[in-house]
């Protein structure tokens, strides 16, 4: 059974930042193909600031870490990703409130809340070639509760990200390309994949 401590929550943000920084150019390339080419820059700016904030602060709860992460992402990323990632972390922090320790069921509930918040904010559903396409199966996987482990999490998230390649975008800036959006992996789903890959790395260290 997976749990999350305050320390692990901070490490999650740090590891996500590391993945975003080392894939900044790749995210930008993906976005240049079907968007406006700023996703790598925006994610790098946002997560750098988020890491700086959570690494230098003291927290009592996982919810507290997520709340600060949300505030920073919302004001530093910009574009569509800022409100979406900001909403995701804000909803997770609201769901977890001041719980001192977070069980797998708590965390699954938090991710589901995040997903619902993102769907509402972005007016998007699964299958529209957006980050929702990764969050949805990950939330289902966590909720299911069976065989939840780091390796399986990466598998689910990666497969979902790859799946956006064959989808025609109907939401987000890639939607303007219509059929031409096909054949490209969605940049937002890729940054969401990094987020869950980072989470899996945090879990692995705890195993």
């Amino acid at each position: 059974m997976m749990v999350m401590t305050v320390e692990q929550a901070v490490t999650w943000v740090e590891k996500t930042n590391a993945l975003v920084q080392s894939n900044k150019e790749y995210l930008t390339e993906l976005d240049q193909a079907i968007g406006d080419g700023d996703h790598g820059l925006n994610m790098s700016r946002g997560f750098q600031e988020a890491e700086a904030k959570v690494s230098s602060s003291e927290y009592e709860t996982v919810g507290g870490v997520f709340k600060d992460t949300a505030t920073v992402l919302m004001s530093k990323i910009g574009g569509a990703s800022g409100p979406l990632y900001g909403t995701a972390f804000l909803k997770m922090s609201m769901f977890l409130r001041d719980k001192p320790s977070v069980t797998q069921a708590d965390f699954a509930g938090a991710v589901e809340e995040a997903l619902n918040g993102m769907k509402q904010r972005g007016k998007a559903e699964q299958g529209e070639k957006t980050m929702i396409d990764v969050w949805h199966p990950v939330a289902d996987f966590l909720k299911n509760g069976q065989n939840v482990n780091a390796g399986k999490l990466v598998e689910v998230a990666e497969k979902a990200m790859e799946g956006t390649k064959d989808t025609v975008a109907t939401k987000g800036r890639a939607a303007y390309l219509q059929e031409r959006s096909k054949g490209h992996i969605d940049p937002g789903s890729t940054s969401s994949f990094y987020l869950f890959q980072a989470l899996a790395d945090v879990w692995k260290e705890g195993e």
Binding site: N42, I77, G78
Partner: protein, 331 residues
Amino acid sequence: MKKVINNPDDVVREMLEGMTLAYPEQVRNLEGTTVLVRKDAPVDNKVAIVSGGGSGHEPAHAGYIGPGMLDAAVAGEMFTSPTPDQVIEAIRAVDSGQGVFLVIKNYTGDVMNFEMAREMAEAEGISVEQVIVNDDVAVEDSSFTTGRRGIAGTVFVHKIAGAKAAAGGSLKEVKEAAEKVVANTRSMGVALSPCTIPGAGKPNFQLEDDEMEVGIGIHGEPGTKREKIAPADDIAEELLQKVLEDSVDFDKSEVAVMVNGLGATPESELFIVNRYVHSKLSEKGINVTHTFVGEYMTSLEMAGFSITLMKVDEEMKQLLDAEAAAPAFHR
């Protein structure tokens, strides 16, 4: 990448500093933000108009700050929507108690960030209304998708909503005037060369010497199709056809025309396009009442242009003619 910049990270801040110094009588910067407001904001007893979006579209949006147009413009990073904390600063700074009207271009990020700021402002007791501009006919309209982009037609919304507010219109009346513009305005653009975001260092797409990208937006994103370059009249015809065929019935109507340069197309070429647009419209019995040719909504150094038609009635003509004194728009 060859650009007149210092550090890519400083482009927006340094640009805003330079703009404020260029128009010291008209605008001021809200300290610690990327917001420029009218020097005399908040203006008593007037609905305030706030627009904004990613940078890279200069003179949009700060160039439209002034009497008869915008009260504030919020600048995001290059081609990136500004964040809610910046938008709310603008709303607070310009509200005179009569309410604030937001002009938002229809991009996922812009809509989300402005709507979050709107929710925050309303929670503080400020009345806020908004319009979402979606004049680009290159993209099919659908309620199931992101829908159409807002491009150069946004400038007509600034002018008409701004004039309505200056004339003492209520928040509801300003919103109605703006919605009328959106309902009657259609645009379409073409690119002859791409553009490069300073932080990205290379363009989003490549075009051969004899190619053009039809149906582009204003963020360097690829268009809906790629074609061989053609004479000005043929390109203008292709764009105009799409605009005229769309859902606004321009038949026998009066229109305002905007031929907008995207950043690297000389005015001479824009005038050549304008010449064709006028002759074609006159042939069709459409009467042009106002013409605007120049750079109004650019896409960094992209070469190309867009054509915008706005069907006008008596009220819209009056509002178009009303006084405006913004750095990039005078009447």
